[in-house]
């Protein structure tokens, strides 16, 4: 059976611009493509029938395809240079912090080429021991092996080829770690009656494996032997370094005593936000990182006196490599779609199909640049989509069912992710060595960005699109990616901006744009829950690559290690916006209070609903209970919910017009609200857990309406759109579209 997977190069395109698609066939040589406009999610018999609208495009129809492998795993590489293949004796050295020493042979540093069996390499061998190998071709390989390495401890490793003695020597020196681990230094030697051959480029954390048969992550080569762990301050010098020289290599490579022998000294603490690795040695043999290993990591010399890498970069000279880092699948493009002039703004997708197996590649068509074609903008939560991409860990244990309170449901595309781990991870996962994933990229096939499958993020947001379509389709689609780069200018043309169901991740530029928009009379409909929660950083050069440091508090799948709370891309402090004094309540009136995934509830009107300031909102809405129905687990209030909190910035004039109740045991108070564990933290006993339907005016005549619930959007279409939540929400949209300013209450 043939299956197919694909991704595209851009998520946001304007008419006249082109989006390219990369496709891989899994067991066949052909597929068909179809461009579609998405108007609703595929959500079963209770929802609007799933009927994407075909778009005429030259790329529609059958295509030839082939398998394209995904070159997963990070490393760093310096292009081949004669100085990196010294003629006589030489020494290489580095600080090394292995995180999975027992996983099998792993490359740390060297020019080793596995195909030609030439070059040299500091490695971890198949038994978890530090090793040094040189080779001059098949059958002419020498290996010296020192002692087993412990997991998550720093070592200084130094290895020499002694041309005169015809030997290789390896020194393994454990570094002190404020504990009493009984490790001793080790030295090993082996005869080597030949000099190493030229090898390949000098690589860190992987070795070259000859020309790549498929997509190559660098230089047309394949790489293997990926290392898990940290490498800090790698050096290369001529001659056999004695103990004094090894000490200088470790700490002071530019010391005059090494001036005659130093070949290269890479300082990973330089250019941390970039993909460059900098050689401070005399030849400036700079290189680059590949597949985004994690930078701004504590080095071997971290003292704890400073936790911000921008103020003590020398203590952050480590790069943490992972065999499951992936920033770009590097596939060859297969077809392209140029958005015709005049094509309406909206949510689109290419559907690629092989043997009846559909794979979806969504993208967003914005209005022509510099123009708006509606007063209403739906802001697609592309930042949140990005950090969630390929959330693999949720499938891999019963833990998910334990906190969700339901048997897990998945489908054939979810199965692809389980079957093909090389699709990479999300920032909700841990790497294979247990460290948290802090970078996510959209330049790879994506399992959970599609109109089908679990209703979460993109798919769930299509319920909002469904409602806007029901109202006549008068809306533009814009994206958070563009909001980050264009700021206020993107929002300014619109009377109303609607968020998705879960706009959880924001950069500073995004929050500032929202605030400026609202201060100028803009209207925000925050159509979800757990929004504006985490701070993110965007890659300085690559579109669609986002960093999250899960610092200090919050509901999170992993937590940052000591001293690693500052983003490598920007130097900004990561974690919750709440911990950056920009709690979501300041912008939206409400902020994350609880999550649960077994059952959704309803809102009950409050006395505030009778306030004349919101009389327009309740026109035609007489019921006491709002949203006591829905496609998502039976109610509008649930999944992740938000509440007001004046301490955290809810404005005093905010009206909570309806409040949810009757949530289940799986709804636990968020971690940041539980400083002293007390047990009374689920919704059955804790009265703080509720979603607050909230409204307030802003000083420039604008206003904010917040649903405070992810499930809310799933109730809009209930009963053929004939329901109180539809009417209330539509009332808000209509009033927000009106140019009539909202007066601030006295």
């Amino acid at each position: 059976m043939n299956r197919v997977m694909a991704y595209c190069d851009r998520w946001t395109v304007a008419p006249g611009e082109t989006v390219r698609f990369m496709v891989s066939c899994l067991g066949g040589t052909s597929y068909t493509a179809q461009i579609l406009r998405l108007k609703q999610p595929d959500a079963g018999p209770q929802a609007t029938p799933f009927a994407p609208e075909p778009v005429d495009a030259p790329c529609n129809g059958p295509h030839d395809g082939r398998f394209q492998a995904i070159p997963i795993g990070s490393f760093a590489v310096v292009p081949a240079h004669p100085a990196l293949a010294p003629a006589g004796s030489f020494t290489l050295a580095a600080h090394v912090f292995p995180t999975t020493p027992a996983k099998g042979r792993q490359a740390i540093m060297g020019t080793w080429c596995e195909v030609s069996q030439t070059g040299y390499a500091l490695e971890i061998d198949g038994q978890g021991r530090l090793a040094f190998r040189i080779g001059a071709g098949p059958g002419r390989v020498a290996v010296a092996t020192a002692a087993p390495l412990s997991t998550r401890r720093w070592y200084h490793a130094a290895a020499s080829y002694d041309a005169e003695a015809g030997a290789i020597i390896l020194h393994q020196s454990p570094c002190s770690d404020h504990d009493f681990h009984p490790e001793a230094p080790a030295t090993a030697t082996a005869p080597a009656g030949f000099a190493p051959g030229a090898g390949g480029p000098l690589a860190f954390a992987a070795h070259s494996a000859g020309p790549a048969a498929g997509p190559s992550p660098w230089g047309g080569l394949a790489f293997a032997g990926h290392f898990n762990g940290r490498i800090d301050s790698p050096r290369l010098c001529a001659g056999v370094a004695d103990a004094a020289a090894r000490a200088l290599l470790a700490t002071d490579p530019l010391n005059a005593a090494l001036a005659a022998s130093l070949i290269a000294a890479w300082d990973f603490s330089r250019d941390i936000p970039t993909e460059t690795i900098t050689d401070i040695g005399p030849r400036r043999l700079h290189g680059s990182i590949v597949n985004l290993p994690t930078r701004a990591m504590r080095g071997h010399n971290w003292t704890g006196r400073e936790t911000n890498w921008t103020r003590a970069p020398r203590e952050y000279g480590a790069i943490h490599f992972h065999d499951d880092d992936l920033v770009d699948a590097c596939w060859a493009p297969d077809f392209a779609f140029t958005v015709p002039e005049g094509q309406r703004s909206g949510v689109y997708a290419a559907r690629v199909t092989a043997d009846g197996f559909d794979f979806w590649v969504p993208f967003f068509v914005r209005p022509p640049r510099g123009a708006a074609t509606s007063k209403v903008a739906f802001l697609a939560s592309t930042a949140t989509y990005t950090v969630y991409l390929n959330n693999r860990g949720r499938f891999l244990s019963l833990l998910t069912e334990r906190y969700q309170g339901r048997v897990m449901v998945l489908d054939e595309i979810d199965s692809l992710l389980i079957e093909f781990p090389e699709m990479g991870l999300s920032t909700y996962d841990r790497h294979s060595d247990g460290s948290g994933v802090s970078y996510s990229s959209r330049h790879r096939p994506l399992q959970n960005f599609r109109p089908t499958g679990r209703h979460w993020n993109f798919n769930l947001d299509l319920f909002i699109v469904d409602w806007l379509e029901k109202l006549g389709g008068d809306y533009d689609v814009i994206t958070e990616e563009d909001l980050h780069t264009e700021g206020l200018a993107l929002l300014e043309p619109y009377s109303v901006v609607l968020t998705g169901s879960h706009p959880e991740y924001d950069s500073l530029a995004m929050l500032d744009a929202f605030e400026a928009y609202l201060r100028r009379g803009g209207r925000l409909m925050y159509m979800g829950g757990n929004g504006f929660y985490w701070r993110i950083a965007h890659h300085p050069a690559r579109e669609g690559v986002i960093e999250v440091r899960r610092a200090e508090g919050g509901v999170r799948a992993w937590d940052t290690e000591p001293g690693e709370a500052f983003h490598s891309f920007t130097g900004e402090y990561g974690g919750l916006w709440r911990r950056n004094a920009r709690a979501p309540q300041r912008l939206a009136g409400v902020g994350f209070i609880s999550q649960g995934f077994d059952h959704c509830s309803y809102y009950r009107r409050t006395v505030d609903a009778a306030d004349p300031r919101v009389a327009w909102m309740f026109a035609g809405v007489e019921d006491e209970l709002i949203g006591d129905f829905g496609i998502l687990q039976g109610g509008a209030a649930g999944l992740e919910i938000d509440a007001v909190d004046p301490r955290l910035g809810t404005p005093p004039h905010a009206l909570v017009v309806a409040r949810s109740e009757n949530h289940s045991n799986t709804y636990e108070l968020v971690a940041e609200e539980v400083l002293i564990p007390h047990g009374a933290t689920d919704a059955v006993i804790n009265p703080d857990i509720h979603a607050d339907l909230t409204f307030f005016e802003t000083p420039g005549g604008g206003a904010v309406f917040s649903t405070g619930s992810i499930a809310y959007a799933g109730s809009l279409a209930w009963n053929g759109f004939d329901n109180n939540l539809f009417r209330l929400t539509t009332n808000v949209l209509e009033r927000f579209k009106s140019p009539m300013p909202f007066p601030l209450p006295k």
């Binding site: 079963g44 244990s397 998945l410 389980i418 079957e419 059955v684």
Partner: protein, 100 residues
């Protein structure tokens, strides 16, 4: 410490009536126990048609193999929850629940 008690048929009846939503403390403890991550295979549902039909499948924790389908098909998620609950009960009790 909460322990499984096969005489607590009241908890099974409570779950059958209310698989999702508010549970008594003891039922919640029982579900937490049944859902404890471990090395054994666990049950998941594969969507055949969204909102309409699901097939019961098993997965190996941490596995790289996709779920293995069983021959149990459901058109109602409540029935699927109850079926999985019964299987787990039987494993803990060493005997089937004495009612459907």
């Amino acid at each position: 410490m909460f322990q499984f008690d096969k005489t607590r048929l009241d908890l099974a009846r409570e779950f059958r009536a209310t698989p999702w939503g508010e549970h008594s403390p003891d039922l919640q403890y029982l579900l937490s126990l049944m859902r404890r991550p471990g090395p054994e295979p666990y049950h998941v549902l594969i969507t055949d048609r969204p909102g309409e039909r699901w097939t019961l499948a098993t997965m190996q924790p941490g596995s790289k193999s996709p779920p293995r389908r069983t021959n149990m098909v459901f058109t109602d998620l409540r029935a699927a929850e109850w079926h999985v609950f019964r299987l787990r009960w039987a494993r803990l009790a060493g005997e089937e629940l004495p009612f459907e």
